[in-house]
């Protein structure tokens, strides 16, 4: 069984990678979880997981002549399988997106929950691919007008490809008093439910600097508790792993990244 989620936000700086890894770690208590850095043009998951000096990343799997097997880029970390992406522009340019589809299909066949850390952009073919391929999206928001309007855009793009919203996360929240009213109003426009309201946390930055996910670095801070609660609310649906893998294999993939 498997369900693939694209963790998306239209805007950078919402803490999408922090959220992806936090949900991944929390879900890993009950599921076999694989987290993939699908932001191949602006990878940063590797820095959050202490994998910045590993030999093989997703980029290597996307370059034909390298001959790396998908499992070579899978690292068991923090109770999850983590597939980082490299940051080299040359590797990004050499990557063949046809292979991304197959690589992700292979990964999907061997896990319960696949989380795709998606690009904070909609302006290119490779940027929309994660929301095209995923079963559902988790949209990371902040209670600001730009973040909400970009979140709405991501949702509409995803829905255009038949990918519904599993729920929303309000991240980096500073105003405790107003957020309930904002979340309640936003709920009318977004699919799924508000999975969580995550308070702004200095621990998130410290965790990133330490090369660890927030839930590993500071499991007891309020933000970590809120992420665990959000993961509990995310109802992972049973799907045949073969279906997801097939869908990834047959998905229309752009000619160029």
């Amino acid at each position: 069984m498997v369900e693939a989620f694209a963790v998306a936000s239209g805007k950078g700086g919402t803490g999408k990678t922090t959220s992806t890894l936090a949900l991944g770690m929390a879900l890993a208590e009950d599921h076999d979880v694989t987290v993939v850095d699908a932001d191949t043009g602006m990878a940063n998951l590797l820095f959050h997981t202490g994998l910045d000096d590993v030999a093989v990343t997703l980029h290597d799997l996307l370059v034909e002549e390298d001959g790396a097997a998908p499992t070579d880029a899978v690292y068991e970390r923090f109770g999850m399988k983590v597939v980082p992406c490299g940051t080299s522009l040359a590797a990004f340019q050499a990557a063949d997106p046809e292979r991304l589809r197959d690589v992700v299909a292979d990964l999907a066949a061997n896990t319960d929950v696949l989380l795709l850390d998606s690009p904070a952009a909609l302006g290119s073919k490779s940027a929309v691919l994660p929301v095209v391929l995923a079963d559902r999206t988790v949209i990371v928001l902040q209670p600001t007008i730009p973040a909400l309007s970009d979140g709405l855009k991501v949702q509409e793009y995803a829905r255009s490809y038949g990918t519904e919203t599993a729920g929303t996360l309000f991240n980096r929240v500073r105003d405790d008093e107003g957020i309930d009213r904002v979340a309640e109003q936003a709920d009318r426009y977004f699919g799924g439910e508000t999975l969580g309201v995550i308070p702004e946390s200095d621990a998130a930055r410290a965790a990133r600097q330490a090369g660890e996910p927030l839930l590993a670095h500071a499991p007891d801070v309020p933000a970590s508790a809120a992420f665990r609660e959000a993961a509990r609310r995310l109802d992972v649906r049973d799907g045949a792993s073969g279906d997801v893998a097939d869908r990834f294999r047959s998905a229309v993939v752009p000619d160029q990244v």
């Binding site: 855009k153 038949g162 008093e177 752009p254």
Partner: protein
């Protein structure tokens, strides 16, 4: 709310109260505006909205009839128009005492959001506002944004159209959900 009487700069009848807010912003007015909806003119009642400014940026809102402040006052005053609007200039120190009333405060862009029709004015006002005015009271502006269903629907429709035209451009039309 007690504010000393200022010097009258202009008095107009306008369809869009945003015009008065824009005038206050453009001349970096420190003072206040008094809005009187047309139905108040006709019915002779006492509904008047007062918005104060510092350097053109709204600080307080107050409705005389309902005795409400902040976002509530703006809701009480908002209507189809036209409005009679007067702009007054006042010394900053004369406003200082009134400006201590936290319950009357509005976020900088909120009067333009609620009373005006020009969305640019919201942006321009927020850009002119000092950083310390753009803190947590942003929530008012976010709520106003989410309350405007037609605006939200416009964003969604534009995104849908964009997604479809891009899909065509990128050769992803087969993946679209029909």
């Amino acid at each position: 709310m007690n504010i000393p009487r200022g010097e009258l700069l202009r008095s107009r009848v306008v369809d869009d109260p945003g015009a008065a807010l824009a005038a206050a912003l453009d001349r970096r007015l420190t003072g206040y505006a008094v809005f009187e909806p047309q139905d108040a003119l006709l019915l002779g009642d006492e509904t008047r909205g007062v918005v104060t400014f510092e350097d053109g940026v709204p600080v307080l809102a107050y409705c005389t009839e309902t005795d409400r402040g902040g976002a509530g006052a703006l809701a009480d005053v908002a209507g189809p128009g036209p409005y009679s609007v007067e702009l007054y200039e006042l010394d900053r120190t004369a406003l200082a005492e009134a400006h201590e009333a936290d319950d009357l405060r509005v976020s900088p862009g909120l009067p333009a959001e609620r009373l005006g029709t020009d969305r640019d004015l919201v942006t321009r006002t927020r850009e002119a506002a000092p950083d310390d005015r753009l803190g947590t009271d942003d929530t008012d502006a976010v709520e106003a944004f989410l309350a405007d269903e037609s605006q939200i629907e416009a964003i969604r429709e534009q995104a849908r159209n964009e997604a479809r035209s891009r899909a065509e451009e990128w050769g992803l039309t087969d993946a679209l959900d029909d």
